[in-house]
């Protein structure tokens, strides 16, 4: 369960006096477990900022935020790593570790969670095969195309079977067939109980996969349907 109650976000001003402007205002909504939601809105509306709140990269400046049943505003800092391990994130800019192979990048969440290496090997090989990168297992990100990197990023986000999956423009570098495959994976995960939130401005994709959406404009939630 994810719940925003009157959440506002203001990025900390760097090197500037005074307060920086609020980029999200009075956001309130609730996502039950296992739902699929689009997050839509023009560029600069605050989609990425909203997702960053959800995957605990920033803390709300005001309001109450509950992620997977934990009140994030009240939880001690040391409780957050365990919570983050239950959240999968596909970043707009992938954020793969350049000095690690595709295999090691995908294996990272499992190893951080301390899974046995035998299980890591099996799961990661299977996952990379599923995203069509069985032959690129030992390749480094710099040796992969944008689409291949995006698929590695997707594999890393879902490898630990997260309870909440957050994807920021996950199809930007994928062709239509790959995007379709990703959508099937996301629907399958949400059917198995994962809450899925996907930010996009790929209207054709949204049209092909109708689902409830959160609409953001100028940092305000203008629709939830």
């Amino acid at each position: 369960m994810v719940r925003f109650e009157g959440v506002g976000l203001r990025y900390r001003a760097i090197g500037r006096a005074g307060r920086s402007p609020e980029v999200l205002h009075d956001i309130s909504f609730t996502l039950p477990d296992g739902v699929f939601r689009w997050l839509l809105g023009p560029s600069g509306a605050g989609k990425t900022s909203l997702l960053r709140l959800m995957y605990l990269a920033v803390a709300p400046s005001r309001g109450h935020l509950t992620v997977l049943g934990t009140d994030v505003s009240a939880a001690p800092r040391r409780a957050l790593p365990r919570l983050r391990r239950r959240i999968g994130v596909v970043f707009q800019d992938f954020r793969l570790l350049p000095h690690l192979s595709a295999f090691d990048n995908v294996a990272l969440p499992l190893r951080i969670s301390g899974r046995p290496e035998g299980q890591v090997r099996a799961d990661v090989t299977e996952m990379l095969r599923w995203v069509g990168l069985a032959k690129r297992i030992e390749a480094y990100p710099s040796q992969l195309s944008g689409g291949e990197q995006q698929r590695v990023a997707i594999a890393r986000a879902v490898i630990a079977r997260p309870s909440l999956l957050v994807a920021d423009e996950p199809t930007g570098n994928l062709d239509d067939a790959q995007a379709e495959r990703l959508m099937q994976l996301l629907h399958e995960m949400s059917r198995l109980g994962t809450t899925v939130v996907v930010a996009t401005h790929n209207d054709r994709l949204v049209a092909r996969h109708p689902a409830p959406a959160l609409l953001l404009e100028h940092g305000r939630l203008t629709g939830h349907h």
């Binding site: 983050r84 570790l97 690690l100 290496e117």
Partner: protein, 337 residues
């Protein structure tokens, strides 16, 4: 926190093999360890010198009697000079106040010895033999000291049973009876030498503390530069749910490895220097210069505390590396949500 992680041992998710490179840190730590070894040797050496000098000699003095064989003065100076409470076992013949028994026209040395023997607070008074004297003088006069026909004074080694004995009074009384006698208290010299040794020891300790501080600073600077070089990777790993302990552990493992290598190298480099120093210091510290030459003998010449410190250096460097890296990384990570 992850309890048992079976992550592969070579898994370098933060890219620390390059960010905390083996180029600079081990060399800096080796230099620190070398300096620390010297400081430790100074500390141990000064401590053992101080102990050596203090032991036993704290309550002793020497009395020099020039022209020991000459007959003692017939008529000594002030009549009240001899102690009234001293049993006049071997009183001088000219001492009219006392019952002069044997008084067999003693020599100056005999008079001195008898006076000393009759003084309360004195444990033993022993005349050094000519051979012992020659030994003492050899450093100044060479091996032929015994053959030189020098008018050597007799030297009496005195051990006090009561360290509070009034040495000035004793000296006055002795010179009254045997003019030209010299009383020299070791206490003053031992005190001065001990103070010197203690100051040297304090300086060595201070140097050691400084070296530890600089080593910690070096590790901290290297860790900080590694942190900023790997900021992006740390943010990603942090975002994937790595605890502060996990990330700090990666840095600490790397820093500990590099510091241990540096510490061991510094200790190895210091070894020959310490052996040489120990050889030089052995005569002063009451030890013996190794008779037979050879590596084993030279190594055996190192005092045990020095050996212990040499072994402790890599361990100390490792501890400094671990603690500093852990602290630096954990403090840095606190800025993250």
């Amino acid at each position: 926190m992850t309890s048992v992680s079976l992550r592969p041992s070579g898994f370098d998710e933060l890219g620390l093999r390059r960010a905390l490179s083996d180029r600079l840190l081990p060399f800096l730590v080796a230099a620190m360890a070398f300096l620390a070894a010297l400081a430790l040797a100074g500390w141990v050496g000064a401590a053992s010198l101080a102990r050596e000098w203090q032991a036993g000699s704290g309550s002793s003095l020497t009395v020099q009697v020039p022209r020991p064989g000459d007959p003692a003065q017939r008529d000594s100076g002030p009549k009240d000079a001899p102690p009234k409470d001293a049993p006049p076992r071997d009183a001088s013949e000219g001492d009219s106040d006392k019952a002069s028994g044997s008084a067999a026209g003693g020599t100056r040395i005999e008079r001195t010895l008898s006076l000393l023997a009759g003084t309360p607070g004195i444990d033993t008074a022993r005349r050094l033999s000519d051979a012992q004297l020659t030994d003492l003088l050899r450093p100044w006069l060479g091996a032929g000291a015994g053959r030189l026909d020098l008018p050597l004074p007799a030297v009496v080694a005195v051990r006090l049973s009561d360290p509070a004995t009034d040495l000035d009074a004793l000296a006055r009384r002795l010179s009254a009876e045997v003019p030209g006698v010299l009383v020299e208290s070791h206490g003053t010299w031992v005190g001065r030498l001990t103070a010197l040794a203690r100051s040297l020891q304090a300086c060595a300790g201070l140097a050691l503390l400084l070296v530890v501080g600089v080593a910690a600073a070096v590790v901290a600077v290297a860790t900080r530069s590694g942190l900023s070089a790997r900021r992006a990777a740390i943010e990603i790993v942090h975002g994937l749910g790595a605890t502060d302990g996990y990330i700090a552990g990666r840095f600490a493992a790397r820093a500990t490895l590099l510091a241990t290598i540096g510490g061991a190298a510094g200790a190895l480099l210091a070894l020959p220097v310490l052996v040489a120093l120990a050889g030089l210091a052995a005569p002063f510290a009451g030890g013996s210069v190794p008779a037979e030459q050879g590596v084993i003998a030279f190594l055996a010449a190192l005092p045990t505390p020095i050996w212990a410190s040499l072994v402790a250096l890599p361990a100390g460097a490792a501890a400094i590396g671990f603690v500093t890296a852990q602290g630096t990384v954990r403090r840095w990570l606190r800025r993250m949500p």
